[in-house]
């Protein structure tokens, strides 16, 4: 059965590939950015680029939550973890290097850092340890922010006063605008993040098409989804239209998840500015705990250095996250910077472009060279 399915999938992929080639003019180059790290993973794992003509270039965007956390915020998290608290975070954050060390290093030096699967786990730990302060390091885009919002609401309802959140949630549109506004970056189209859009709805991308005339297709995560999304984008170029389309209507609606949007609204507010790894400071791009939930804001409860930390000079994560260079074009990629010993965040997270490329893509590169050399 599996083989029949695989055969069918490959036939469909080949058919899509053919349709894309048919309508892609030979004399043009299209740079398509996939925003979400989940898509990056699919693209490299399944070798999606090998189904595309050479003049369609896929570049990787800023949608990996771990990758965009600036060094200074990692240092702030470490500073909180050292203030006699139980510090909880997702597993992805533990190895992310700050200026000098990671949360994992802080743990090795005695800080009580614990990995949790869900913000509710952190709340549960707070309930079980009423004499200790428990802090949850919240990261992620609109996909994850509603989960933090529910944890905040439950903490308030249950009066769990030893629980607080160090909020680093971010929103998807401002970094895209920043990338489109920056010099020397030309992105022709976006593959939109499916699970962010499950919360926000596909409608939030309208401002990208309206202001920048850059098409967006919200996409699912299967290889055929991504290929079909590329086809839909190229078809827009072919027909001379620029619009938001929803390839992932199985999960994503136009208006999004109203409950998720409401709980975010009730617990969080937009920060005037927030620093992003590699992208600098972006206006209205981060979320903080609002005044109604201020008692649960770790930034009010603990002393936080808040120092800006310069990124390591060797690391080119910023250029990778803006689609300026491919992971393998970074000077330290695969040499000084590997998943075992990462310098930059893009190499830390499983969905970071560099880690995805390191795990899957570099073999494709080698294969491609072998094929070319035997021609």
């Amino acid at each position: 059965m599996k083989y029949v399915d695989e055969y069918r999938e490959q036939t469909k992929a080949a058919a899509l590939s053919e349709k894309i080639r048919e309508i892609t003019p030979l004399d043009s180059h299209y740079k398509i950015m996939e925003i979400c790290g989940g898509h990056t993973h699919t693209i490299y794992k399944y070798g999606i680029e090998s189904y595309l003509p050479d003049n369609i270039h896929l570049v990787h965007g800023p949608g990996c939550p771990v990758c965009v956390i600036p060094l200074g915020r990692v240092d702030d998290a470490i500073a909180i973890s050292l203030q006699d608290v139980i510090f909880t975070c997702f597993g992805d954050m533990i190895r992310v290097p700050g200026n000098k060390r990671s949360l994992g290093d802080a743990k090795a030096q005695g800080a009580d850092v614990r990995i949790v699967y869900s913000p509710l786990d952190a709340l549960h730990i707070a309930e079980q340890n009423p004499s200790r302060q428990v802090v949850f390091l919240a990261i992620g885009f609109e996909t994850t922010a509603p989960a933090t919002a529910i944890a905040l609401k439950r903490a308030k309802a249950m009066r769990i006063s030893n629980f607080s959140v160090f909020c680093n949630h971010v929103t998807i549109i401002p970094p895209l605008v920043a990338i489109l506004d920056s010099e020397n970056v030309e992105i022709d189209a976006f593959i939109g993040p499916g699970h962010v859009a499950a919360v926000t709805g596909s409608r939030i991308f309208a401002q990208i098409t309206e202001t920048y005339a850059t098409p967006v297709v919200v996409s699912g995560f299967e290889p055929l989804d991504v290929l079909q999304s590329v086809y839909m984008l190229v078809k827009q170029f072919h027909e001379g239209v620029r619009k938001v389309e929803n390839q992932y209507s199985r999960v994503v609606s136009y208006g999004g998840n109203p409950v998720a949007l409401r709980v975010m609204e009730e617990t969080m507010e937009v920060r005037p500015y927030f620093e992003w790894r590699g992208l600098g400071t972006i206006s209205n791009s981060g979320l903080k705990i609002n005044s109604e939930y201020a008692d649960f804001d770790a930034e009010n409860r603990f002393s936080i250095p808040g120092t800006e930390v310069k990124e390591p000079r060797a690391c080119q994560c910023g250029q990778v996250l803006q689609g300026k260079i491919k992971p393998y074009e970074c000077k330290v990629f695969g040499k000084a910077c590997t998943p075992e010993k990462p310098i930059g965040t893009c190499m830390v997270s499983a969905e970071g472009a560099c880690a995805a490329y390191y795990n899957y893509g570099r073999f494709m590169e080698i294969n491609a060279k072998l094929v070319k050399s035997t021609k």
Binding site: D5, C36, G37, G38, H41, K45, G63, C64, P65, V66, F90, G91, D92, I94, R95, I115, V116, Y117, S118, P119, L120, D121, L123, H124, I125, A126, E127, I139, G140, F141, T143, T144, P146, A147, I150, A151, R154, A155, M158, I160, P193, G194, H195, V196, A198, V199, F221, E222, P223, R250, V251, N257, V259, A260, V263, V348, S349, A350, E351, A355
Partner: protein
Amino acid sequence: MYDRAMCLGIPGQITDVLDEHYAIVDVGGAKRKINTDLAGNGTLKSGEWLLIHVGFALAVIDEAEAKATLALLEEMEDVYTQELQALAESQVHQASDAEDTP
């Protein structure tokens, strides 16, 4: 140590609706307690499929979508098994201690 793809959603099928906040969900063959505040508007029923992210149902999905996503996840073995392992280790999302949940 597990590194998860943060935006990953994993499908699970409801086996028992506990109350307005939680349901017991079969995720990859294991029963887990999943928060349902964000999905279904209080009308969830046993047998329905959910897309789960960090212990929360993010959306109700149909069976075909769930099965297709599961097939994809099984192929991405490392990512999927890490996600299931993380869920298995979660205290809150154990199906057994239904009373003891924030």
